[in-house]
Symmetry: C2
Subunit: 328 residues, 2 copies
């Protein structure tokens, strides 16, 4: 099967590795920001983020998007949320009508000026319906590539075709038709993982109860947000929600971002220094876009997200804001 | 209000501290295993487990159970599962007909030779219905006593009276009528937290995906077990299940027990050395009793619990058993 992977960062290179192991004909296309990554791979070095060698796949640079997509039977969309619309704008004329399995997470501003899901924003950009499948669940890229046991949820009408192509062995794929719920879980968990990191920074190792209370609160609020956005609660309490929040809050950039905020650093400064170090902190934007999404959908009972938005985007003092948190 | 706390260990002394802060007349009764704890408190030292001073409450030794219970308006049952029936056997004749808020977790063998919940076993022992309320949720004793934000679920007909007496400030109490579900969550989470600890020992820090997959799997299996036992799924996906599993798998004796098993030590040896060090590992017995409960209730689709029972109680090799785990 010919599989084209769009985006050569962490997840793109990891999913390309999985596709290679399944015996597919793999093309890995890098965006205009990925040249240094592909340079390293072409030199025979390890991929600079994944820290693994990528063998046997064809590498294509940004200008060769049409060539990358030609004849593709499955597209893996691994561009980050900032790049999703620009890449689709370039790809729309030669994107084949095949399933698109996407790991991209976040909300984007749609044509009506309101927050929409990635699949909705990309269908607007493409000017036609897309065969979109979202890949959710607790899946750190480096561990997928290293064949660590991983549970992913593929959600969308073409989920089975994607699972047939990529699932098996260490990659357990659960099929779902709840595209809305799965996508929202992936976006929201970055916001809430940042919030759990704040506890780590604020109190440290002696606040297990508070952290677990806020983990529970995050799931409560994600259920409210997901149902308001047309998704299902069952998706939130499975791998896409509970599982992914668990892994994101245990390790990674969003948790680290929150930890520094919990220690008193201004969110804007932390985000800037992490961005300068090449560590994109999706939680920073995710808190703002989730809060906008909540207000646009009249979801009012979200004390944790409200507190996060106040601390991260409105300059509220972290300790008193978090201490005043109302649970339930 | 006169409140009698049965059991002077971690949770008993912590809940007694909370009751004191609420201005109640508190009696802390120690079992025949708690003398050294009460000795230290009487000398004015910190409580040896809680590491805090206990001031203002009346301390009573094991032979004074009748005196301890006389005039009590609320009983806090903080005896461990091994001591629950022996203590109730002694208490039954002078136990007043008041709400009993219990933190005791586990399954016990009932009079018909099958696994039953603690409240069922104690009602059998008492020979009459008890006004039993179970306290579930992510609540490490030392943090409750130190006023860390904590979310507990009080489940049972008399939950509100218990909440009125103890809730407020840092202790957020959610009321529930799902006594069965809350009790089973408290028991089961010790078994599954041991399982998550096994991953920590087996692979270490590079298996976040696998650990999160198994966290999700634990919630799936707890939902199956709780519904089979007459409880509700909503209880599992809230503070009593998801929240408590989060805290138990993050820190504590059950996780540590699992980690050592994951590193290849035989479970029986680990349990023996931990017991000798005064560190009761509830997860050890919890795996066996949960597995018995599952078979007695014909709950068959529990691959994680099956694997745990095989490793911990049947001598199965840890790495291949866990590697072969089927998810979903």
């Amino acid at each position: 099967m010919r599989i084209t992977v769009l985006g050569a960062g962490y997840m793109g290179s990891a999913m390309a590795t999985v596709a290679m192991k399944r015996g597919h004909d793999v093309r890995l296309w890098g965006t205009w920001l990925d040249d240094d990554l592909l340079d390293a791979v072409e030199r025979g070095d390890v991929h600079p983020r994944l820290r693994l060698k990528l063998d046997g796949m064809r590498l294509l640079r940004a200008p060769k998007l049409d060539e990358a997509l030609q004849g593709a039977e499955l597209v893996l969309h691994c561009v980050n949320s900032d790049g999703a619309v620009p890449v689709m704008t370039k790809a729309r004329t030669f994107l084949p009508d095949v399933p698109i399995l996407s790991v991209t997470k976040g909300f984007l501003e749609g044509s009506k000026g309101k927050m929409v899901r990635i699949d909705q924003a990309l269908a607007e950009t493409a000017g036609r319906p897309l065969r979109f499948v979202h890949a959710a669940g607790p899946a750190k890229a480096i561990e997928i590539a290293r064949s660590v046991l991983t549970w992913m949820v593929f959600a969308g009408s073409d989920a089975r075709a994607c699972s047939d192509a990529l699932g098996g062995d260490h990659l357990h794929v659960e099929l779902s038709d709840d595209l809305a719920g799965a996508e929202m879980c992936s976006a929201l968990k970055n916001a809430y993982a940042t919030g759990l990191g704040i506890w780590d920074g604020l109190v440290g190792k002696d606040a297990h109860n508070a952290r677990a209370a806020c983990f529970t609160q995050a799931i409560v609020e994600m259920r409210r947000l997901v149902t308001a956005g047309g998704g299902r609660e069952a998706t939130v309490v499975g791998a896409a929600g509970v599982g992914d929040l668990h892994v994101t809050a245990a390790a990674g950039r969003n948790r680290a971002f929150g930890e520094r905020i919990g220690k008193g650093e201004p969110a804007r400064d932390v985000a800037a220094t992490m961005l300068a170090a090449g560590e994109l902190t999706e939680g920073y934007a995710a808190i703002q876009t989730a809060w906008r999404f909540a207000r646009e959908h009249n979801v009012s009972d979200l004390p944790f997200l409200r507190a996060l938005n106040a601390v991260v985007w409105e300059g509220a003092q972290v300790a008193p804001t978090i201490a005043a948190l109302r649970l339930g």
